[in-house]
Subunit: 331 residues, 2 copies
Amino acid sequence: MTQRVPDKPVITVLAAPGEALPPGLDSLAEMAALRQAWDAESLRATLPGAHVLCVTDFRTGALRQAWPCADRLQWIHATSAGVDAVLIAEVRTSDVLLTNARGIFDRPIAEYVLGQIIAFAKDFHRNWELQQRQEWVHRDTERVQGKRALVVGAGAIGREIARLARAVGLTVEGIARSERSADPDFEAVYAAHDLCARLPDADFVIVAAPLTQTTRGLFDAVALRCMKRTARLINIGRGPIVVTDALVQALQEGWIAGAALDVFEEEPLPENHPLWRAPNTVVSAHMAGDFLGWREALIEQFIEQFRRWRRGEPLHNLVDKGRGYVGATKE
Amino acid sequence: MTQRVPDKPVITVLAAPGEALPPGLDSLAEMAALRQAWDAESLRATLPGAHVLCVTDFRTGALRQAWPCADRLQWIHATSAGVDAVLIAEVRTSDVLLTNARGIFDRPIAEYVLGQIIAFAKDFHRNWELQQRQEWVHRDTERVQGKRALVVGAGAIGREIARLARAVGLTVEGIARSERSADPDFEAVYAAHDLCARLPDADFVIVAAPLTQTTRGLFDAVALRCMKRTARLINIGRGPIVVTDALVQALQEGWIAGAALDVFEEEPLPENHPLWRAPNTVVSAHMAGDFLGWREALIEQFIEQFRRWRRGEPLHNLVDKGRGYVGATKE
């Protein structure tokens, strides 16, 4: 943070096309000049002279095209946990700071994951199907207590998932970049290269990792075949961490017993995509963490960060641009 | 327990029509003479001389008709948590002991309830409907943390529900026969006559009470109107605790925001019953507690009780026949 912070900095907000200025941001109007962009063209027009870029669209590709116009940029804030869309090579090699929304979505996502675990165990999906046909069919279902979960990604979200799952009696292991001993939130944390060794023990496998060069395609046919045939996959991380074709095959051929998917390689999930109708599969629209009030919470977090930045204080949630996520020591 | 226990007691097992002798019970063959009944007629034939009656059918009406044939009966064990089907007036006024399956279903039922709470909060039902139509519709959903639950019935099952719900961040109050201070499992425990005063605070209302003269029809139109319009009702107790017509009206007219129902006044729920299609309602086939292995667990529990009884030791889970459930002091 050696760069000078101007008296009235310029903030460009890059939102999804058609999206209004996030609620509450106008409270910065006295402290900063606000600009808005929705695509590459408007970003090119609003980046010159901007000191801060706040990206609220986690699917944007506009930054790469407009990057040459970033002549004063000191800091990019992404209002999402995953920063894959903004962490382009140009950003990685620049001295522009990158922060994310770590913390906001952790608990809601963990609640969603726990709900999917219980829904699988208690066969809620079949209950709904039977109810549509007005059929009364008693079944015995699984207990949750004593089941084993493997959380791939031991960051803030993965940890919150582990805490909730353990609170209701699951045994939870984690997979992180490297092995850790005596972790407070996991039974054990193994290194990424141990993934296939740990998968056969898990009843529930939860993808909570950031999308990086290491995690892209991590769940390929080999990994999916390492899972128990009775296990379920829950993906709340990013779609491309799982190889879609392999997942479809795994579900259709019964390599695994089901999947709960909130994220996809292509979003929205296209019509007639086989995942819509894959056996024992539930789909949601990238919304696991989006609780009522999340937009306001994200903007509050950005405003607090902005105040720190303006006072010259260190920013929270600084992304390690080499790794692609906020490091544990920055928590 | 002043009655003499014979050397080789006679046990009659009253099962549902067509149901085989429960697995594992044959291990008692050396210690007892085993008989089987499925209806009033076969019960009349097998009760004379029987010292123990083990009832595995929680819907049976056979006992009332066959009761005059119970000439030696000392003890009835019900392999269910609810004993309403066997606690007929004749049993209540006799000196026959009555025990139940307290403990076996607590945790699985609590898991089911927690799953329904999260499914409501995260709108899993709508996800599933949208998936049938292959529609991608992002919504913001509720947080579970910070929500308020009211558990009606503070017995073993109600307590386990409270423990799990609190473990994931809900605030949980209980309704019991009488008010209790400083309860370890509930934020507060109120008396039954406070029900309508406590209902307006609850986001989730969980019926976990036994069916007794006090609880029959407890959730009538008045009580349902005391609930918040955004609240959901979860019934895992007994169907007749809720007045079905009032519940249907409450759901259809939006007095409450939804219901998860595992028990009904009439079971199986008849075809074309309005509850199958009531708005925001999910139905399951009286199976919330029935985990894989429950039959074996129930018989293990009965065999353990039988050994205690034969040795002249006090039985566990003795039902207070005046109240209709196992008292707290007997835990």
